[in-house]
Amino acid sequence: MTSLFEYAPAPESRSIVSIAPSYGLFIDGEFVDGTGESFKTVNPATEEVLSEVSAASEADVDRAVRAARKAFEKTWGPMRPADRGKYLFRIARLLQERAREFAVLESLDNGKPIRESRDVDVPLAAAHFFYYAGWADKLDHVGLGTRPRPLGVAGQVIPWNFPLLMLAWKVAPALAAGNTVVLKPAETTPLSALLFAEVCRQADLPAGVVNIVTGAGDTGRAVVEHGDVDKVAFTGSTEVGRSIARAVAGTAKKLTLELGGKAANIVFDDAPIDQAVEGIVQGIFFNQGHVCCAGSRLLVQESIHDEVIASLQRRIGTLRVGDPLDKNTDIGAINSAEQLARIRELSDIGEAEGANRWQPACELPDRGFWFPPTVFTDVSPAHRIARDEVFGPVLSVLTFRTPDEAVAKANNTTYGLSAGIWSEKGSRILQIANQLRAGVVWANTFNKFDPTSPFGGYKQSGYGREGGRHGLAAYLKGADQ
């Protein structure tokens, strides 16, 4: 669309962050070389290689777990809870102080727009540390009786969609509860976790409390299957989650899984339409749709279907796709070639199955991994794009006639992570929310997060909760355990 009012490029400067040509692992408070084969991490917006990163072998992971065990027994475990809180507050403040650096690095390595890394990922990551720092000396009030005890060493494996934020979700409650951690960031987005390691050193966090082992699936498996890990926390695909559950079965390890989703975003005919359209956009195009709780299934009441779709298409036409570092970009790059291929494949299947694909006219950069915002109408519940998680900027639109039908269709999924309800009628919102089998239900908003609010799924979306008081319980055991 040509416009009278073209926004001149407004790129955030990348000079604030210095990326080393290569990185090792962070074990026992030191950066050390890994013994596995190193791998490259690229900027998905340009395919430029950003750095080379060590892959941790089984032996490296063992070293990390031993360091974490030692820290748990010698320093972090015995430490006064209030002092643990001080370290966490310090980390939170450092994240704020270095917020721009983290935001730029996150956008470079992940492809997400700087507006989101700056306004969502980094502030929320800091907020999680602040929140759990406050809990560190108040664990008697978590609800597990007096003096709940930490579990020990937590092995944590996180995804590439919110690299720093998922790290915060995992590390902050674990440390606040008195555990030590071995964390594996995703293969395609290791850099912000390594910058976080630097923050741990800056905060004088005792050696071994946080260990970061980079690598791919093998490294993750080594973390999860290590015999001296007491707790496994995983966020990622349902497929990998299943294999982790199998690996952990029969051991004493505690497990939380935060897996995929296919959330219904339900728009009733009495909804505030303009805000609902914003919420639909926010629900599916936030972070290029790489969101496990994305509102990927729009359930719209049939009587307002045409009006909502027309309004939605007009709004999508104003989305700005392109350079993630440009402050005016709304949709950045797809994180990897592999993910792009999956999005393409599922979209093609959607078309082949008879759904109607709509994409706005938008120019995509020549290099890098890109996929335009996409809406499928005439989708039936039997179509794969109505059932499978696409994990990309692809919305499937279905219709319903009555509230009962909306609930039935919303719950007709193997997942159950999140859902949205749009209505101006408060009583309806409460009634519907009570019937939805989803861990998070948003009313007249979508994709809003807060450290005080527990997050987690039903069914194949996993089990256990992160965030809030509930998130602490996943890293503690009561007197009877």
């Binding site: 001149a8 909804a271 339409i273 908003t445």
Partner: protein
């Protein structure tokens, strides 16, 4: 009021003098029909509206786009003085500023209009002959609107006779808030008729309507009644033009054009004091209703101090450094 099952069955309903454009030509057939229509408009979620404008507020407008935005904003200003102490001298000095906002730079565009009280419209008209700058006059017992309809109509006729080619009227907020929507509508229709050729801007005084749902309903009343522009505020009530209010009014003019084919202009007024505020509004237009409204025929800023800030920012872009308040004229 009495609720009836069939609005058409309401006894003694008087048909409105002026029927709105299709497909809305029957919505003003009775009080209850009009009420049902206005309350059937989609609601506005305040939190969502605020979130949307906050997000648009992060747009980074730099270099060439900033230069374009500043010049465009200047050309959209309704340069306003609405004081009890206004004199012909004050109005003439404002008119001079309207013609040549920045004496140090003749490439500066002139503003869209000068906005004054009706009795001074003649002075403004005389001072602006041949410039293409419009003369806007506030009327209808501005700013409160608390006068009989006959007085309001006389006020409008007087302003038009004095040379105003744009009339900024206020709606009857008392009638609106008591639910007498048809009264509000009929009064706008009557004022529009009294305007003759003059363009009619309808001031909703959103600071007194309070809710965004009310803002949307009042916008529709004004558009259905034939208003050429809808305008947020008189500038005499706080809050005046806020971004969420502007968003809702822009959505209204957008939806109205989609439904009827008629384009209605929009004028936020009051409280827009800085270039940053103005640019945020231009971004809001650009991404809510699109470039069709990025034109002084369809969008105005009702402002007085805004112009000098735009001029200072313009000088900064041209010279590379900030000057100070003595480098723009005081009027």
């Amino acid at each position: 009021m009495t609720h009836v099952l069939d609005p058409d069955a309401l006894p003694g309903a008087t048909p409105a003098v002026h029927a709105p454009l299709p497909p809305y030509d029957d919505v003003t057939r009775s009080d209850s029909a009009f009420r049902a229509f206005l309350h059937g408009l989609p609601g506005v979620d305040q939190v969502g509206a605020e979130a949307r404008v906050a997000q648009l507020g992060t747009r980074s407008i730099k270099t060439t786009s900033k230069a374009w935005a500043i010049d465009t904003a200047i050309s959209m200003v309704d340069l306003t003085t609405l004081e009890g102490a206004d004199t012909p001298g004050k109005v003439r000095s404002l008119a001079a500023k309207a013609k040549q906002p920045d004496p140090s730079d003749p490439t500066t565009p002139q503003v869209a209009a000068v906005c004054v009280y009706g009795d001074l419209a003649g002075v403004a008209r005389e001072a602006l002959v041949g410039t293409g700058i419009h003369v806007a006059a506030v009327a209808t017992a501005f700013p409160s609107g608390r006068a009989s309809r006959a007085v309001k109509i006389a006020d409008v006729r007087d302003a038009v006779e004095n040379g105003a080619d744009e009339i900024d009227m206020v709606i009857d907020r008392g009638a609106f808030l008591t639910g007498r929507y048809l009264d509000v509508y009929e009064e706008i229709v009557a004022v529009k008729e009294a305007c003759g050729e003059a363009h009619l801007k309808v001031i909703l005084e959103t600071g007194e309507l309070k809710t965004l749902d009310n803002v949307r309903r009042a916008s529709w009343i004004a558009m259905l009644a034939g208003g050429d522009f809808i305008k947020t505020s008189t500038g005499k009530v706080t809050p005046a033009a806020t971004l969420p209010v502007s968003l809702v009014m822009l959505e209204a003019v957008r939806d109205f054009r989609i439904a009827t084919g008629r384009q209605v202009g929009f004028k936020p007024a009051g409280g827009i004091k800085t270039t940053k505020d103005a640019v945020k509004h231009l971004v809001l237009i650009n991404e809510t209703v699109g470039p069709d409204w990025l034109d002084p025929d369809w969008f105005r800023f009702g402002a007085s101090s805004l112009l000098n800030d735009l001029l200072l920012q313009r000088q900064k872009l041209r010279t590379g450094h900030y000057s100070g308040p003595d480098y723009v004229t005081v009027d």
